[in-house]
């Protein structure tokens, strides 16, 4: 059994359908990357999985249990966290407060200090700025904070939407390395990316186009097939 099983998932905005019934699985312990051009439906997918968008039809199972239909708090409690597109930190709260709020659903509130230390281990930059208002952080630091906040609830599945958007190639690599470390430490990861620099870290690669999946395979497979790379990532890679 896969950790995440998505079956014929459909959703959209108002009356406008976006996901045309997508199906995929993610195995425990892996890193899956969802590629696709702007407007392909990547954000819609992860937002729906995270419970911020309602599921129209289809089913999502996590660890064998049905989670589609749960709201966002229910999904977090089930063990899935999302670092959303556009970072979305709380600008008027300190870095530390941002992290602590990430642990909202945890029952062991006494132990969240340890997880904060763990996040500081991944992102030393955040520790230096822990009392600073999140709104005054640089784009890269806010990205680190959004990821750090998402792992504060100790999720089994971490989803990151557009981790590298607006970051320098060097900073993007740093973020990818940390994510790979988080993965090594036992968390299953789904990354939404337009940057092919993430490919070396991908166990599984998915490509979305117009609300449908057009590729689902091993990361190396996608890397080898230069054709796919040109077709789907040509423009994005050139950005």
């Amino acid at each position: 059994m896969s950790l995440l099983e998505v079956e014929e998932l459909r959703t959209g905005y108002g009356a406008l359908p976006v996901l045309q019934g997508i199906s995929f699985n993610v195995e425990e312990g892996q890193t899956a990357v969802i590629f696709g051009l702007n407007g392909a439906g990547k954000t819609t997918t992860v937002n729906c999985l995270a419970g911020v968008l309602p599921t129209w039809s289809g089913e999502v199972r996590f660890d064998g249990k049905r989670i589609s239909g749960k709201d966002a708090p229910g999904i977090v409690k089930a063990g899935i966290a999302l670092s959303p597109e556009g970072r979305r930190v709380w600008p008027g709260l300190s870095v530390l407060k941002n992290l602590e709020l990430g642990a909202w659903v945890r029952k062991d509130q006494k132990a969240i200090g340890e997880t904060v230390e763990q996040v500081f281990g991944y992102f030393p930059r955040l520790e230096e700025r822990k009392d600073q208002m999140a709104g005054t952080l640089s784009g890269g630091e806010q990205q680190m904070l959004a990821i750090g906040r998402a792992i504060m609830c100790k999720p089994r599945l971490l989803m990151i939407d557009e981790a590298s958007l607006g970051l320098s190639p060097k900073l993007a690599q740093t973020v990818f390395q940390v994510v790979s470390q988080i993965n090594d430490d036992g968390t299953t990861v789904i990354i939404v990316e337009q940057n092919v620099g993430v490919l070396p870290y991908a166990d599984q690669a998915l490509i979305m186009e117009k609300g449908a999946l057009t590729f689902d395979g091993r990361g190396e497979e996608l890397e080898r097939s230069g054709e796919l790379r040109k077709t789907y990532l040509g423009e994005a890679a050139a950005e």
């Binding site: 419970g51 959303p84 979305r88 709380w90 709020l101 642990a103 909202w104 906040r149 998402a150 609830c153």
Partner: protein
């Protein structure tokens, strides 16, 4: 307003007349504004909403407390503490009802729509109050009947003193609520970034209901105390007497700073009472309110973040 009375102005020292009386009366009156301002600040801080109905929620609470106190309508004649409890519950209930019926359906609407909707709630409450209570002023519940301080020149009622103490305590408590409690932090989190707040597992709906429940309670406390100092309550009374000064207090104090509502309220009360004492009626009628408007404009122009506020 009868919270402070000049008993024998002829015998007083000019200095006392010019300073002590307006200071004391400004402090008490200003505390009432501050109390009402506290609810306004809470709702502004949590959702960037200016609630036009805040004072009228207070009026309603004071009306229901008066009903219960006098045994009118559905109520038997109840003892004062029970009447006050009924008034407070009315405020909480109204806060929750407004949130559920008006605010929540407008979650993703522009703020301006929501603010206009609260003005609609105000009009509805005034009309409903008229239906339930009639247009005649009704005597308000008195918590205390005595005088806290009485000298030849100055009289402070117990209710007047209570208002100052209650405002100070509530301003401190609500500031602590925001800085120290999980729920307080959740309210701030919703106001700054609702999506992220949902994503960490906080229910935005529950937080919103809670905020309006507390705002309703603050409105009820302000309403019952203010109508106590005035002596009567009637539909629209608190909106008419206190909404604009309370708004000025909130803006002066920095509209997101809770202790600011306290400072702002007291400053507004003092400005008003100094203007009333020192500018003769024939020179400028209603000088207190006019000077207040000038002060509000000045703050909006010179320091829009208020005295204690931060630009966020």
């Amino acid at each position: 307003m009868s919270a402070v009375l000049l008993t024998a102005p002829q015998q007083m020292q000019p200095l006392a007349l010019e300073f002590v009386v307006p200071v004391v009366s400004g402090l008490i009156q200003g505390s009432v504004y501050g109390l009402l301002g506290l609810g306004l600040v809470l709702l502004y801080k949590s959702g960037r909403i200016f609630n036009f109905a805040q004072a009228e929620i207070g009026t309603f609470s004071a009306l229901f407390a008066a009903f219960a106190d006098q045994g009118t309508g559905p109520f038997p004649d109840l003892p004062v503490p029970v009447a006050i409890l009924i008034g407070l519950l009315t405020g909480v209930g109204l806060g929750l009802l407004v949130e559920r019926v008006v605010i929540r359906p407008l979650f993703s609407a522009p703020k301006v729509t929501v603010v206009v909707a609260t003005a609609g709630v105000l009009l509805l409450l005034v009309a409903l109050g008229g239906f339930l209570s009639g247009p005649e002023p009704r005597s308000a519940v008195q918590i205390f009947e005595g005088d806290f301080l009485e000298t030849s020149s100055l009289r402070v009622t117990d209710t007047g003193a209570l208002v100052v103490v209650v405002l100070a305590v509530l301003a401190v408590l609500s500031a602590l609520f925001f800085s120290r409690t999980r729920t307080g932090t959740a309210i701030i989190a919703v106001s700054q970034e609702p999506t992220a707040t949902r994503l960490v597992g906080i229910s935005v709906e529950r937080t919103s209901a809670l905020t309006w429940g507390i705002a309703g309670l603050l409105g009820a406390i302000a309403g019952i105390l203010l109508s106590g100092t005035v002596g009567v309550v009637f539909p629209g009374s608190l909106t008419f007497i206190a909404l604009v000064p309370a708004f000025t207090a909130a803006v002066l104090g920095g509209v997101t700073a809770l202790p600011g509502a306290f400072v702002g309220g007291v400053v507004v009360g003092m400005i008003e009472s100094f203007a009333q004492t020192n500018i003769p009626k024939d020179v400028l009628p209603g000088s207190g309110k006019v000077v207040l408007f000038v002060a509000l404009l000045a703050v909006l122009l010179l320091r829009p973040a208020g005295l204690l506020g931060k630009e966020t």
